[in-house]
Structures are given as structure tokens and as C-alpha cells.
């Protein structure tokens, strides 16, 4: 059982033109096994929350706390956060030329578990996970994210989610740029990780489409760096029908 607590979180993004405040006091608690959808219009701070949890150097926490099972996440380096059990599926996965997927995954798995995985077991797990995500076996010989299509990049993120078995995962617009088939395959992967590992999920999305495949327990609406509304799955249905206009008018 793991708990990620976000308390009164204020975050600024560091740009060449100076710092710009994005998050203005966010409170959220995510427990193992729970699925939280975070929705909101563009620029509301959804991705900023994702990057702040992972420790991206461009984002500065100016106030508030992030705790994982009571441990201060903000004191941890990026790799320490991952080893503590946090995972970020990125909206824009980065190309790493010359590093094969196979080498990358094995290095990451070794880092997370603290020891190299047993070869036979690892090869089996990898094969199963890839076949579940309908990925060709020669995929592992390619360089990380290099020349990947949008769908391949997202599947590769979910492949890592399934293999690295984190406690809490933040999925940053994993649904963007996916066709219906890819969306279904990727969602199945998230549901598997949720069921098999009792994963806690923070699902960041602009659209309700992915919520047809991944059923949220809670829905939070971000507007202008603050939580505008919270509710259950029914809130998502309302957003599907009404959009974000209501909140934008209120905040304007």
C-alpha cells in the first residue's frame, strides 16, 4: 500500500524570460489501486504537475509538499524518485540515439530493482509484455524513441510501466495522437498494470475519450493552476457534454 500526497503545491516554470507561476496550491492524495483522472483545458497546469512529481529541472516548487509514504519526494533526485516507486509516462518521450531499447530497458530494470534481472526470466517477461502491447520483437533492437511513430512511443512508455512495476504512475496525455486501436492497446496495458501491481494511477488528459477504456475512481478538474472541481466518473461525463467553458467563464 502506497500513498502519494500532494499538499498546497505551488510550482513555477523556469524560462529564459524569468519564472512563471503555473500551479497555485494543489492538494491531491493518490493511494495504491486508485485511478485519478486530471482534466482541464490547455495551460491549466496538468503537465506541470506531472513534471513536478518526476523532478524535471525546468520546474521549481516554490511552496508545498510532495510525500510518498511520508518521505519527502522534493528532496529526492529524479532517479531516486523513480527508484522510490514513481513513474512518469511522458507526453513527448525523448530520443536517445545509439542506445537500444533492449539495453535501455535492462539498465532501467537493474537500477529499479537494485540488481540485474535473471536473464531467462527477463527475456520471458519482455516477450510477454511486448506481445500484449502488439509490439514486434525486433523493436528492442531499435534506438530509444528514434524514428518511432507517435503510437510506438506511447506503447514503449507503457511497456516500461509494465516492466518496471512502479507504485504510482503519472500518465501525461498518453492518449494524445493515438488512433482508436492504439488507444485501446495502450489502455489495456494501463489496466493490466493497475490490476496486477495494484498500481495507483494519475491519468492526465484533455479529452474524455480514454476514460471509456480506463475507468477513473476520481476526476479532478484543473483550471488556471487550481483545482476547480472534483468528483467521480460522472464528472467526466458532464465534461464530455459541456466542455470546459463553464470553468473558464468563472475564472475569467
Amino acid at each position: 500500500m502506497a500513498t502519494l500526497e500532494i499538499k498546497n503545491l505551488h510550482v513555477s516554470v523556469i524560462t529564459d524570460q524569468g519564472n512563471k507561476q503555473i500551479l497555485k496550491g494543489i492538494d491531491l492524495t493518490i493511494r495504491s489501486g486508485e485511478i485519478h483522472a486530471i482534466m482541464g483545458p490547455n495551460g491549466s497546469g496538468k503537465s506541470t504537475l506531472a513534471y513536478s512529481i518526476a523532478g524535471h529541472p525546468k520546474y521549481e516548487v516554490t511552496e508545498g509538499e510532495i510525500l510518498l509514504d511520508g518521505e519527502d519526494v522534493l528532496e529526492m533526485s529524479v532517479d531516486e524518485r523513480a527508484r522510490a516507486g514513481l513513474f512518469l509516462a511522458m507526453q513527448y518521450p525523448v530520443e536517445v540515439p545509439g542506445v537500444s531499447v533492449s539495453n535501455f530497458l535492462r539498465t532501467a530494470k537493474t537500477a529499479i530493482s537494485g540488481e540485474a534481472p535473471k536473464l531467462r526470466e527477463w527475456v520471458g517477461d519482455l516477450k510477454t509484455a511486448m506481445s500484449n502491447l502488439r509490439m514486434d520483437s525486433d523493436f528492442t533492437e531499435r534506438n530509444v524513441n528514434e524514428g518511432f511513430s507517435g503510437g510506438e512511443k506511447k506503447r514503449h512508455e507503457i511497456l516500461q510501466l509494465e516492466l518496471l512495476k512502479p507504485k504510482i504512475a503519472v500518465l501525461d496525455e498518453t492518449d494524445s495522437g493515438l488512433d482508436v486501436d492504439a488507444l485501446r492497446i495502450v489502455s489495456e496495458g494501463v489496466n493490466r498494470a493497475h490490476k496486477d501491481n495494484n498500481l495507483g494511477v494519475v491519468l492526465i488528459t484533455h479529452y474524455t475519450r480514454i476514460l471509456n477504456y480506463i475507468k477513473p475512481d476520481y476526476v479532478h478538474v484543473f483550471v488556471n493552476g487550481k483545482l476547480a472541481e472534483q468528483g467521480g466518473a460522472e464528472l467526466a461525463e458532464r465534461l464530455e457534454n459541456e466542455g470546459y467553458d463553464r470553468y473558464l467563464k468563472a475564472s475569467a
Binding site: 513513474f87 525523448v94 536517445v96 545509439g98 518496471l164
Partner: protein
């Protein structure tokens, strides 16, 4: 081409085009080296250690190990032979000094139609740090195929000229390794002349040496020839590496592709890459691309990168160049670290990946493995 061409040029006028550089085997045709000359502007001249003097010593047979397949022969000939100079003649003083002071030339002959996949080895290990000259001539007969490794190890001060002559349809995979220990200086000028439809893969690997300068010059004067020139280097504190590949497109329908990648891992490390490609008016149908990328791992390292492309005809298939030097990509590091990989390991992965693109072109398993091992050892501790 005559053995002793005269300097073609008037005095005091800066050399504008690559083809108009003076060529001569005679030292007196080249002035004393000065920083004001473009070709020497970056070089730390105090590290030349006498390679520009009129008289230097000569590498002896016992300082060279040659391991060849049975069908391939080696012999020493007098450097006054007509064979010497068949691929090109010096364009700078250090090359002329090495030319003049090497009284003997080591000739490696691959007979026509001979095909071997085994790497042929020439290993140069000087037995003292005295400035010495060496001349090597490699010839491949028509339609022959060979792989050759020219390895430089130990401590030495070497002025070297290497000539490579490929017959029609011949194919050579040639690797020159600079694995010098601290205290070494090496200036190598490598001339290649390619026969009709022949193919040369020329790979430069520089890993050690106080001053290493390699100038591979490839003349494409027979139609349909193809050259791939690759380079990989890892420079630490105390290393100065300079690579100046030159491709001279003279004949029609030739292809050249130049790609050098280097990493600089120690403060004070300095690398220079100057890539010259000349497409002459006669070189219709040329296809060429040159690239240099440098990755700076620390503050206080310097990478100079200058691509030069001269085009004298519009009737070409393609011509391009790219050059970039940069630090670690923060986003790459973030991505790897977000998967639990510590900073040091992440940096190693990125550097190895960066250099690997070139290393895998070598296609000689022994050399690749040795290189990967050396790079891993060198990168221990980077980023910590």
C-alpha cells in the same frame, strides 16, 4: 604526377581554394610553420616536438609488426622508387619532412582479385621518443578486397605518410588507430587514390596522444568510386586531436560520405575538425555529405568544427554538410534518470550511444570490442 612538383603559388596571398594549396615533396618549398597559416592555426606548436625540423630519424623495421594473410605481401623498398607518390604528395611542411626523411617505404600489396575478410595488421610502436619518419604504401589490385588495421601504440613522435592506391573495383576497409600513451606526438597524412568503381572505407580512431593530427585526403579521379570516411575520438585532459578529412571530387558519379563524432571528457581537452569537400567542374553527378558532431562532457573543453564545401558545378546529385557541438542534452538525461538510472550511468549510456553510431561502422569485431572497452573505462566516473 611528378615526384617533385613546385609550389604553385605567389607569395602573400591567402590560399582561397583547397585545390590551390602548394604541393611538394621538398621541405624547402614550405615555410617554417606559423600560427598565421590556416592549416596550423589551432595546433599547439610546442607539442610538434621536432616533426617540422629538416632532419629527423626514421622508423625501423623492428618497430613495426606486420601480420598478413599468406596471399598478401609486405616489403621495404627504397623511397626513390616511382611507386612512391602514386596516391599524392605533401601539402604541408610536416608531411614533407616525413616524406624526405623516410628513406625506405613499407609496401603492402594485395594482389588483383584477392579477397580476404581477415583483418591485416600493421602495428607501429616506436622504441624511443625521438622524432621519426614513416612511409607506408598500400596497394590493392583490381577487384581485390581487404580489411586493414594500422595501429599506433606506445610513446613516440611520429611523422607519417600513408598512401593507399585502389585498383578498379577494389574494396578496402581501412582503420587507423591512434592509441598513444601520454608524451606522444603523431602527425599522419594519408593519401588515397581510388580506381574506377572502387570503394574505400577509411576510419580514424583517436583515443590517446598529446598531439594527434590526421589528414586523410582522398582523390576521386576515376568514375563511380565511393569513399566513406568515418572518425571517432574521445579526448581527455592533455589531448589535442585534429582531423582534417579532404575529399577531392574530380571524376563523374562518385560518392563521398564523411562522418566524424567525438566526445571531450576532460578540462583542457581540445579537438579540431576541418572537413574539406571540393567538387570540381568535371565532377558531374557527385553525391556528397559531411558531418561532424561533438559532445562536451565537462566545462573547459573545446571543440572546433569547420565544414568547407566548394562546389564548381551545379550538375550534382547532392551535397550537404552538418556540424554541431554541444553539451549533454538535459532532456535525454531527465528521461533516463526518470527510469531510475543514476546520472553517471545515464551519461555513460548517452556518450556510448553517441559514439556507437560510428563504432559500428568499423565492422571488425576485435577492434569494436576493444574500443567499447576502452571507452567504458574512460567514462568511469564521468558525471559523478
Amino acid at each position: 604526377m611528378s615526384q617533385h612538383g613546385a609550389t604553385a603559388h605567389s607569395h602573400g596571398v591567402p590560399i582561397q581554394t583547397r585545390s590551390e594549396r602548394p604541393k611538394s615533396t621538398s621541405i624547402s618549398d614550405f615555410p617554417e610553420i606559423q600560427k598565421t597559416e590556416e592549416i596550423w592555426r589551432y595546433v599547439p606548436l610546442e607539442k610538434l616536438r621536432g616533426l617540422d625540423a629538416e632532419v629527423i630519424g626514421e622508423i625501423k623495421e623492428e618497430e613495426i609488426e606486420v601480420k598478413l594473410s599468406d596471399s598478401i605481401t609486405s616489403r621495404w623498398i627504397d623511397s626513390s622508387s616511382q611507386l612512391v607518390g602514386s596516391a599524392g604528395i605533401p601539402e604541408d611542411r610536416v608531411s614533407a619532412v616525413a616524406w624526405t626523411n623516410a628513406s625506405k617505404t613499407l609496401v603492402i600489396d594485395v594482389p588483383a582479385n584477392n579477397e580476404s575478410s581477415e583483418p591485416q595488421l600493421i602495428r607501429v610502436s616506436p622504441n624511443s621518443t625521438d622524432a621519426k619518419a614513416l612511409h607506408i604504401l598500400i596497394t590493392l589490385g583490381n577487384h581485390s578486397k581487404a580489411t586493414m588495421v594500422l595501429d599506433h601504440t606506445g610513446v613516440g613522435t611520429l611523422g607519417e605518410n600513408v598512401e593507399i592506391v585502389l585498383g578498379d573495383g577494389a574494396e578496402l576497409n581501412f582503420v587507423t588507430l591512434q592509441e598513444w600513451s601520454v608524451g606522444s606526438t603523431h602527425v599522419s597524412t594519408q593519401f588515397a587514390k581510388l580506381g574506377r568503381s572502387s570503394r574505400l572505407k577509411h576510419i580514424v580512431v583517436s583515443m590517446g596522444g598529446d598531439l594527434v593530427r590526421v589528414v586523410p585526403a582522398v582523390k576521386l579521379d576515376s568514375p563511380g568510386a565511393e569513399v566513406n570516411m568515418f572518425g571517432v575520438y574521445l579526448a581527455d585532459t592533455g589531448n589535442y586531436f585534429e582531423h582534417r578529412p579532404y575529399v577531392d571530387h574530380i571524376a563523374e558519379n562518385c560518392v563521398s560520405n564523411v562522418a566524424y563524432k567525438g566526445a571531450l571528457k576532460g578540462a583542457g581537452a581540445h579537438t579540431v575538425w576541418v572537413g574539406d569537400v571540393l567538387i570540381r567542374e568535371s565532377a558531374v553527378g557527385t553525391d556528397t555529405y559531411e558531418l561532424n558532431r561533438n559532445l562536451l562532457l565537462v566545462d573547459g573543453a573545446r571543440a572546433d568544427s569547420v565544414p568547407n564545401l566548394e562546389i564548381e558545378t551545379g550538375k550534382i546529385a547532392g551535397a550537404g554538410h552538418a556540424s554541431a557541438s554541444g553539451r549533454f542534452d538535459d532532456l535525454q538525461l531527465f528521461y533516463l534518470m526518470a527510469r531510475g538510472i543514476d546520472e553517471g550511468t545515464a551519461k555513460q549510456l548517452v556518450v556510448r550511444g553517441f559514439l556507437n553510431e560510428i563504432i559500428q561502422k568499423i565492422e571488425i569485431p576485435d577492434v569494436e570490442q576493444r574500443l567499447i572497452g576502452a571507452i567504458e573505462a574512460e567514462l568511469e566516473g564521468v558525471g559523478n
